[in-house]
Point group: C2
Chain length 332, copies 2
Amino acid sequence: MTETNLRILLAARPEGAATLDHFRAVEEPPPAPRPGEALLRHRFLSLDPYMRGRMNASKSYAKPVEIGDVMEGQSVAQVVEDLSGTFAPGDWVLGGKGWQRFSAVPVHALVKLDPDAAPPTAHLGVLGMPGTTAWAGCTELAQPRPGETFVVSAASGAVGSVAGQIARRMGARAVGIAGGPDKCAYLRDELGFDDCVDHRAPDFPERLAAACPDGIDSYFENVGGAVQQAVWPLLNDFARVAVCGMVAEYQGDLQPGPNLSSVLRKRLTLRGFIVSDFPRAAPTWRATGARWLRDGTLKYREDVTRGLENAPTAFLGMLTGKNFGKTIVEIT
Amino acid sequence: MTETNLRILLAARPEGAATLDHFRAVEEPPPAPRPGEALLRHRFLSLDPYMRGRMNASKSYAKPVEIGDVMEGQSVAQVVEDLSGTFAPGDWVLGGKGWQRFSAVPVHALVKLDPDAAPPTAHLGVLGMPGTTAWAGCTELAQPRPGETFVVSAASGAVGSVAGQIARRMGARAVGIAGGPDKCAYLRDELGFDDCVDHRAPDFPERLAAACPDGIDSYFENVGGAVQQAVWPLLNDFARVAVCGMVAEYQGDLQPGPNLSSVLRKRLTLRGFIVSDFPRAAPTWRATGARWLRDGTLKYREDVTRGLENAPTAFLGMLTGKNFGKTIVEIT
């Protein structure tokens, strides 16, 4: 093999906003697989907001990436070599590790994909971790009910776009919050959201109130910050808030939270979660979502950047909402 | 009948802290019961923190008291007259209404009490609304489990003292937070709390941390403010917070809440409640608590002020922690 392993490392820990200076690209020989491992050539890398937390020194719900280590991430890949014989060269698998072109991964940690059943990239987004997060957050936490109003922020993103579609299936009126008129039009016209409000509009709080004339019964929180502050007064008694992400605050700009007297007065339930808290959600959603993809009732959009060397730029853009759909890097 | 009906009215709405000037006493003739109503002579009035919310103009989970109206509250009373024949004169009942000596109340809204089974005042505290609140908050929300650490604030109060005892029964280590060494000694030595921390100590956050070496798995919130801020960093992953009251902030001194990134990072569940959200809790707790009172394993303490005219002073004292036990006014 003459190709090198392009790898994107964490070069330094950000204080506040991350920049390109916090990443560093290196070229190394591909790793040599150990017994039980397959050598993978990554084809598509998933970029997700949680990765920003891994750049900090403090433990979040997972260990930080160490300085000089490869950035954490999941890829769909093709098998180059598997001495165990579990996979054949060219097989598509989910489970490539890190922002890099090659990885050597234990075969038991790989999931074989059928590229004819669904595009491999779907397993990074709509059917993968983000879609499963939407499924768990809706069915276990937000629990939208018929006749209720469900609101999701970062609604055109990989999680939010699926959450809104699931909430509509569960019978609720789904209102998205997204950045810009194009995303809002897409959510309304393509994905069937009942309404969508642009959080960049100067009168965003008033527009959100107008879009939710009966208040908000469940809120799928992906953003925090000013969006959260606009949602809060609209929450109805007994509303459920699924706290999935707060991407507006990942860069260190922590806002004061809502005073908890609102939690008491309105008898709110707030609950934080990550997808691995619900291990049964992944197989359930993979089967359910695949069925809806096949019958055409579940829709998704990908924002694909070509070239692993461009992953840092794509990642930073995603953190500020420049992406439009699931952020993916095609590894050339 | 020659006695007058002493009544304590809301004289003005407080801006910030309530004072004696916000109350006004009047003497009027006792009310004339209408068909279906019994005339009651109140014997013991319950004073509870929720009443502070009723003094504000804004709707909380219940309507405010109007200026010039009698303050809201519940009493145990004796029947003076019941033309329906449901109750005999002298019968003890729960259900007297308002800070006043007499009320006329529909007989269907009254609960007959057996003064030989439990002291009538127990139905205002340990077996009544506060005890039921503790029961619902523990069993439905905080859900302390064996081996876990349970923390309750305002721990010597009517709700907190029962909550800690229930949490111990449920197998958890119960740590109280109370104001002053006397209250802490009482909770440890008399009620069997595993530990108690004085929130007035200058190094309260460090003391609380020392009292919870394994962190906090469930927190019964009665106080808010600085106590809440000291509890927050100690919450463990998957901790449950039952938001029952925030008496430190009822006087208008609203603190910023915790940033919700902690809810996400630690996968917390926060849930607000009032006792009427759980209608089955009252009969369940009345029977359970009465059994524990009879066998001597459930303990309580009352802080009784004599004279309805002193109710405003007793109420204001309770809001700043001057009471020691369930606050009750004996109506002479």
